[in-house]
Amino acid sequence: MKMTVRRLLGVLAFSGVATVAFGQTLPPYNPVTEERLLNPEDSNWLMYRGSYDSHGFSELNEIDSSNVGDLENVWSFSTGLREGHQAPPIVNDGYMYISTPQNHVLAIDARSGDLIWRYVRYLPDDLFQFHPTNRGVALYGDKVYLATVDAFLICLDALTGEVEWEIPVEEYYNGYYMTLAPLVAEGKIMVGVSGGELGIRGFVAAYDAETGEEAWKTFTVPAPGEPGSESWPGDTWKTGGVPVWITGSFDPELNLTYWGTGNGGPWMGDTRPGDNLYSTSVIALDVSTGEIKNHHQYHWNDSWDWDEVSAPLLIDFERDGETINGMVHAGRNGYLWFLEREADSINFVDANPYVYQDVFTSIDPVTGRPEYDMSKKPGTGYEADFCPSLWGGKDWPPAAFNPKTRLLFIPANDNVCSTMVGEEVQYSPGRAYMGRGQSENGGFFVRPGADHIGELQAWNVDTGERAWTTTFENHNWGPVLATAGDLVFMGGTNDRYFRAFDASTGKILWEQRLNSGVIGVPVTYTLDGKQYVAVLAGWGVDAQREQNLINMAKGESHYVPQGGTLWVFALPENNNE
């Protein structure tokens, strides 16, 4: 019988010291406790954004703005897969976990770069993958949790990769799928569902970490009689979309998780007249019960495909000399939203555009409700141009916040716009249910005279003013990492560079060209006291799709190679001598 590394591990795992075929000895696995998640150590990266507040920030500062120019590759690891590699490497005391498109999970020895085990999921042939990607695993206890594109939640043994349990969250053939990293809190594994393009009814659900039993399930589209149901006419709520496909934030003091929600379906707002709660909103869910405690809708009756799925960063900011328990969201709708979070309410503070936006004509200063230039709102049989494009000022790539310098870093796209027209569409389970007609050039254009598209922006959250902007010729799909070394790390551009920026000025201090475009979430951690930065390269999904449209719009044929590779960087060994 062929004895694989994985099988070997399966035998040895019970000893508590797993040995790989190459002879290395791995340390005992350090279980991920609730306490560790509440106070994650700087040496590890235990969850999607590193901490529950979604800051994407690390206190590590061995690598700083004075020495980052010396950063070099330590090792790399090819995943063997194409499409969008967007997951953060999750690191726990020498064990590193990455997930890939098509739902592979790889456990890697963070010291050596050797594979410990690999989980491979066989997906059904009739799967409809709008977004072939996965945005990371979650750790809890000695388990690894994965939300799959065929709508299963899977629990793996962290040491062996063996399936402990798996449960169907919903039916993939009805259009449900998942791409987000689960959120773990209070012993529950929380996930949201994608499929807003396929006539789903969105929800967030929580499962017992040990058994997989469902703890609660909260729909993002209320049923008749429930609060908010008056904002959905007739039976539109049944197929109203409002997916949740990015990991939420968590405020342990309020015991509330904050999730961003997607747009309603079909895409044209005139098919579902009303505000369509809780679409394009942030919702606050009680971790214990799943109850929606409060919400804020960024914009109502969406017709632009402006999902607002990015979870808000939980940031306490200053206004008029007062500290506000706040949260901040760079909206796909092109506005930067400052909100106040309280136990019983989410209050509007202020909002201003951070990219060119030609749809909103005003924002109510009390409620934050926008008014629209209706000529910019597509409808069934009505074609409209609007900016920013359907991918918005910022799509899913997460922003980061440095609490020391008070700067928020936004990976933005400016000067790109969409043309969209609605067409009638019939619901059929599992089929496209967008009702979007075809427009010239794929419905995409660059503003005349624009000299760039991609941006990395820095905003002072206390003054609400922009500190600096670094621009890129083409689009930017780079998730952001901020560190106490006064650095910002980001890839995202179609030239395949992964870069470090001076967080105070936006100046590029270091860049390395990788195998493919970088749309993975960068992380940092230490091993034996030494700081590392890790990121997945692997262009695909909407970055690739937008590239096709930019090529069309500009008459170019820029090619970005695909293929996932995990890259790990550090300073040279003698750097501090």
Binding site: R82, R121, I167
Partner: protein, 196 residues
């Protein structure tokens, strides 16, 4: 593979067909049994089946060449068992897009699959399995709305743009008594491309 069946004492899994598909070990045992038990509506189009329009002004009618105009946007269709009347609608992998072309202009090796100008391509994109429903009327290309893959209807569904790794499968047709009949099963594998 580290894919193993769930531990019975811990698993809340309800074993469904989907569950079985998700588990590598179980899959190898379950698939042959599933093939035997495949209900007619889920079976792929069979030689001798009619094609029936699934959408548009001719929805429900048997596909005939005169119901299609030359080089127009393809429309979706399903196979129907002539003996039982069963519509093979049980799997999205069975759906095809039909259009009418000038057979003389089609790459010669595919001409035998055409029935009096009518050609049928699988609707399922070979990239990630989306329905290929868009149409470039200038270039006469089928286009995927998900990731912009483009397929040339005059070149056997060859990929001419976007990330799709292989052509759309053709459903071979023949012409008989004024109607379009399925001549054989799909020319290639239908569905997205599982990597690795």
């Amino acid at each position: 593979m580290s894919v193993k069946g769930p531990k019975k004492d811990q698993s809340p899994v309800k074993v469904t067909r989907r569950t079985a598909l998700g588990l590598g070990v179980v899959t190898t045992m379950a698939l042959p049994m599933a093939a035997v038990a495949q209900p007619p509506a889920r079976q792929k189009p069979q030689a001798g089946d009619f094609l029936v329009f699934e959408e548009g002004s001719n929805q429900g009618e048997v596909v005939r060449p005169e119901l299609l105009l030359l080089d127009q946007r393809p429309v979706s269709a399903l196979a129907r068992d002539p003996a039982t009347g069963t519509l093979r609608s049980g799997s999205r992998l069975n759906r095809v897009m039909v259009t009418r072309i000038d057979t003389e202009k089609l790459t010669p090796r595919y001409q035998r699959y055409v029935a009096n100008g009518v050609i049928a391509y699988s609707i399922v994109c070979t990239h990630t399995g989306c329905d290929v429903t868009n149409w470039d009327s200038n270039e006469l290309l089928m286009a995927c709305p998900c990731h912009e893959s483009q397929f040339d209807v005059y070149a056997g569904g060859n990929v001419v743009g976007g990330p799709a790794p292989r052509p759309l499968a053709i459903l071979p047709l023949r012409f008989s008594n004024g109607e379009v009949i399925v001549a054989a099963g799909f020319t290639g594998r239908v569905g997205f491309t599982q990597q690795f």
